[in-house]
Structure formats: structure tokens, C-alpha cells
Assembly symmetry: C2
Homo-oligomer: 401 residues x 2
Amino acid sequence: MASVTDRAHAEALDAADPLASFRERFAVADEPIYLDGNSLGRLPRATPERLAARLEEWGMRLVGAWSGWIDEPRRVGDLLAESVLGARPGEVLVADSTTVNLYKLASAALDLRPGAVVVGPDEFPTDRYVLEGLAAARGRELRLTDPLATHGGDVALVCLSLVSYRSGELVDMAAVQAACDDALVLWDLSHAAGAVPIDLSAADLAVGCTYKYLNAGPGSPAFLYVRRELQPELRTPIQGWFGQRDQFRMGPLYEPVEGVERFHAGTPPILGVAAVEVGAELVAEARIERLRAKSEKLTALAVDLHDAWLAPLGFELGSPRTPAHRGAHVSLRHPEAWRICRALIERAGVVPDFRLPDSVRLGLPPLYTRFVDVWDALDRLRRLVVDEAYADLDPALARVT
Amino acid sequence: MASVTDRAHAEALDAADPLASFRERFAVADEPIYLDGNSLGRLPRATPERLAARLEEWGMRLVGAWSGWIDEPRRVGDLLAESVLGARPGEVLVADSTTVNLYKLASAALDLRPGAVVVGPDEFPTDRYVLEGLAAARGRELRLTDPLATHGGDVALVCLSLVSYRSGELVDMAAVQAACDDALVLWDLSHAAGAVPIDLSAADLAVGCTYKYLNAGPGSPAFLYVRRELQPELRTPIQGWFGQRDQFRMGPLYEPVEGVERFHAGTPPILGVAAVEVGAELVAEARIERLRAKSEKLTALAVDLHDAWLAPLGFELGSPRTPAHRGAHVSLRHPEAWRICRALIERAGVVPDFRLPDSVRLGLPPLYTRFVDVWDALDRLRRLVVDEAYADLDPALARVT
């Protein structure tokens, strides 16, 4: 068997990959090596056609097409529930952005429970900012601390990511749920949905993004999950007409509809929902357990190559070492991470992501990432660092993206 | 000159219409006669290509395409500002839904001013429901009354439509602004944008929809307007990462960016924004003054034919009689409006809209509606009513749409 540092090892893994053919379901070019699918996933080949079908319906059937469209956010939500999220029918809705959904569910949770709001200091910015704003508006204490360290009877709401956007750490959902049993827990599944198996059966609230591992495109609509038993108790702060009972009676006062649709606000984005459907179908077809099995091997290869090649060059692993404790991306820390990322993109044909302060983040979506992509990217990375081929770049962060 | 009841009259108006060729810029079939463009505008022929270009960017440039996309919501906002809204650069943003934008701006306004919230009892439902929810959450009095009858020193916020979704009444923006000078006025421009000239130079806040007269498609992103001088004082309640200063520094606390982008929440929907751009370009090319001139003639023809044909059959005009006081749609009231609308759609090849309790609403978007469309539709309508060709339909509202 070839050593991990031999390309033949990666080639053998690709040859044995039962999901290898899914790469052809996406618009792919061999160059550059794209390792930022956890920022923006690739374009599925089925998406333009699906959008064209919706455009055709719009053009020909006009307002009459709404009879088919109106249930799409819930129908695609059910598909996500079954194939991606481990939820039941009627618990997931495609709507708005992750930010707006987070706001809606967090606000609803604070209506229900007195007490503090807890969000980790390393949470994704939008989560921290939304909760900061809500806590201030409600006169609640905001604790920017590790949720597991601070839970207790005086906490209303805990918000955390199942997979950390920086380190890629995958937390134990059941353990967190158990530890925070006095608070409502609002999960951000943005870096988890489509990357790791999720079981929401014990979860109350969740939101997440569809343009990462669900490949629904730039700014595609997000999803929200509300446990069925909790739905009647919760009210969205944004009382829009799509959440209204008997919507087209247009009655004088707001009365939320039964079910998860009560968390709708305005008119749902039909083209965007169609793109989410394509992404969810691909995950359903590949099956999340198989995706996870491949993903663990992909990140393991990256970690092994880091250990063999990069650690001696001053890198440090920024992700958990145990495959079971990380999602589908790996962070490699280096003091020159910013310039190294720039050089990778501009000179080495590798697209990683930079995350402050010092992380080269490598997203390895198992639907279309090959093992040789990981091998080639890390090979190029080590050569670039050995040659100091980043040293002439401006160290200032002109515009961090 | 032909009488208004002669089809030749309508034909002559079409022959003299300087905007007639714009109809070819949309996906159109001659049948059915579509008079519901104020619910969902037609598909511009340029839209599929524009979306294909964005899909190509996504597929090929991947996350790198964000360097071009990130300013689109503001750039298309500027186009709307100049061509549609009578606003200045940097005052308009394409974002979220009308409902969410209304919530953001109304909430920000209530932070600034103490006092009651006033919204007309006939306002579009989402406006009433959103303000009802905000007033309750803030402990403010909600007055569901005519804004002009109830303003005064104790009012924080007045919300009203420039063009009423039911009657089509066009209110005098300057007069309302003057009468409500102690309150902030939040305009809903959904039935006005692209239909009537708008001058926001004396306005503080506005929101509106792009899937009606701006033809951006089902659930397309909405716009918001905030007067430049007011922007530094206002803070969105939904503190999302796209409204954050130095967004990608991902700092510990939320600090809104300068400018209208502070009213962003999550990641903007890039495909949707592209569709808004196409719609705004068409209005810009046709020029809103020319569109308005044609629109007044279209609605005048509908009113004249109503008077000649329909009033004797029990109809009543539900819209202002003076062209200057109405937008681009006309409401015709009849006790059997619901069954008449069903029969028009199912038996007469005319698509109107029904609005409770008794309105047949005819939307006449001047970009693609011909004078003969108005003539033919009203001719079919009168024949249908004379023949009582609706009388066998179930009078129950199975599902009002």
C-alpha cells in the first residue's frame, strides 16, 4: 500500500470511491482546485434546467402557477427534513436568509423563556450579532461564552453551531441538548447540513444555509426547523402575510397558521427554492451516511498530509484530530495564513478560504472533491511555503473575503 | 373618431402607442388576456439570459465571483433610485422581502420616536400584521385608522401605500408628508414602483415589491429606501453580518456599516437581484413618465367601458374616477365578483384578480398591456355577466387566491 505522501495513495482512494461519479453532476473544471465549497458550493448541472422550468411556468402560467409554487417551501423543507436534517415532515421550511431565520426563531424563543442568551465567542458573526441585538432589545443578558460552561437555570436560549465555521469542530448534539436542558437550544447547521448526518429528533430549533454543502447558489434561501410540538407555542416577530391563517382572506388581525408555515414572512423566493430542491436531491441520492464516510477519509488525508508535510514548516492543525469530532473542512493555522492564501489563489491554482486570524480553511465537500484534489492542493501548498512564494505579497488585508 | 365602445378606438390607441414595442420584450401569448400583472408581472425575455450569466459566473468563478456580486444589491438599488423611485444614489437597497424590509425599517423608526403606530384599515395585510406585531412587542398603541385622520404629536410612525392594492387610489405623497410632519412616514410602494412616477425627495422611509410592475419574478427580492440623512440614526433590528462594518473581520460586536447597506441582513440573493436589474432596466428604458402617460389612458379606457357597459349591469367603480388619483389598476365592484372572476378565468380567457369582498381587480401594466386587451377583456366580461355564465359556479371561496 502506498504511503500517504505518495499520490498513488490518493489515486487509489479515488478509484475505490463509490461516490466518485457525483463529481460529474456538477459544473467542474480541473483547475483551479476548489476547496471553498463550504463558502459557496458548486453549481449542480441540474440547476439551470430546473430554473428554466420555473421560468417557463412563470412566463406561460403567470399568476396561475402559484397554485403549484405555494407549497414548495414546505415540500422542499420536507425533503431536507428527511434526507439531510433527520427531522419529521412539517418541521422544516425553506425561507428567507439564515440571519433572518435565526432572528425569527431566537425572538420567538425569548418570548417563551425568561433569562440570558448564550452564544459562543467563536460563533459565526451573524449569530453573535443577531443575538446581541435581540438581547439588547429585550433587556436580556448576553453571554459570549462557551455554552457548555455557562448553562444553568437562568439561561433562556443557547445558540451554537453543530460544526464550527472556523475549526470545523463537530459538537455532540445530544450531549449539548442534555447539558442545556433548561434552555432552548437553537442550532446553526450552516456548516453541517449536507456534510454530516444530523438527527434533530431531540432538538427544538435550528436554522441553516443552503449555499454551502447543499449547493443552492449565492444567497440562496435558507431553512428553519421548529420541533413539531413547539410550533403552536412560538410566534414569529415578523408577522407577514405568508404566515397568516387563511392568507387570502386578508383578515383584520394577524393569526398565525398552523404548522411550520407560520414562520414564513413575505412571499417566498420560488427560483431560489427550486435551486435548494436540486441541492437536497443530490444529497438524498448520494445518501448522507455515504457522504460522511467519504468526508471522514477526505479530512483524514488532509490531516495526515499536514502532519507529514506542513507541521515541519510551522503549520498547526486548527481542527480536531479525531475524524468523528470534525465536519467536512479542515483548518490549518500559520502566522502567514493570509499571504499564503493569497498566493495559493493567485499562483498555485488552489482556492482555500482565509479566516482571521491565522487559518487556511480547506473545505472538502464529499459530493465533488477528489482525494487527488486534497493531495495536489497540499502538495502545492507545501511547495509554496518551502519556496516562500508568498513573501513578496502585501501583508495588509486589503479586503478580506 | 370611433366611440370608446368600438374596438377601433382601442386599435387606434395601440397604433399611436409609442411604447407598443415593449410588449415584445416579454414572454407573451395573446391568450389568455392577462390583467394580473400587479400580482405577478410577466417574464422579461432578457431574464433567462441574465440568470444564465449569473449561473455561469457561479459555475466557473465560484466564490471568486463574489467580488463582482457583493455590490449588486446596492448597484441595482441605485438603478431603482434613479429610474423608478426618485431617490438619490446610496438610498436604495435590494434585499429580503417587502415584509422583512417593512419590519426592519418600522422597528428602526420606533427606536427613534415615541408614540403610536398608525396604519390604514385597508392597507395590504402584511403591512397591518407587521405593524400590529411590532406595536404589541414595543407596547405602542396601534391605530388601524386612516393616517390622515389621526396624525398628531403622539404618533411615531405612519405606514401607508402610495397606491392602494384594492382601490388603486394614488395618494398625494407630498400632502401626506406635510400632514404627518411629526411622525415618520413609511411608504409601501409595492403597487406604485414601475407604475407611477415617484419622488422620494421629501420621504423618510419606503419599501416595495419587485414582482409586480418591475417584473422580477415570483418572490423576487424587495427594495428598501432610507433617506440619506436618516441612515446614521437608524439601526436594523436584524443585526446580520452583511450589515456589519468590515464584514470579513468578523469582529466581536456588531457595528453597522455606513450607508444603506446597514439594512442588509444575511447574504443577498444574487440570482434574484439580477432579475430585479432586468426589470428596472426595462422601466428605465421605457421611462416612467411615458409609462404613466400610457397607463392613465389604459385605466381611462377601462373606466369608460365600465361606465358604458358594466354600470348598467350592476357594477360600481371601486377606483378613483380621476386618472391623476389612481395607479395602474382598476377595481370593479359587483356582488358576484368572486364567481365572475372564476368564470373570467375558466371560461372567458381573461385573468383578473379577485379581492375580498367584491372586487374584480384589473391590473394594466403599461409595459405590455395593449388597449385592445382592455377592450376585449371588458367585452368578454360584459357578455359573461349578461349571459350569467357564472351563475352555476359554486359561490363558496374554495381557496381565495
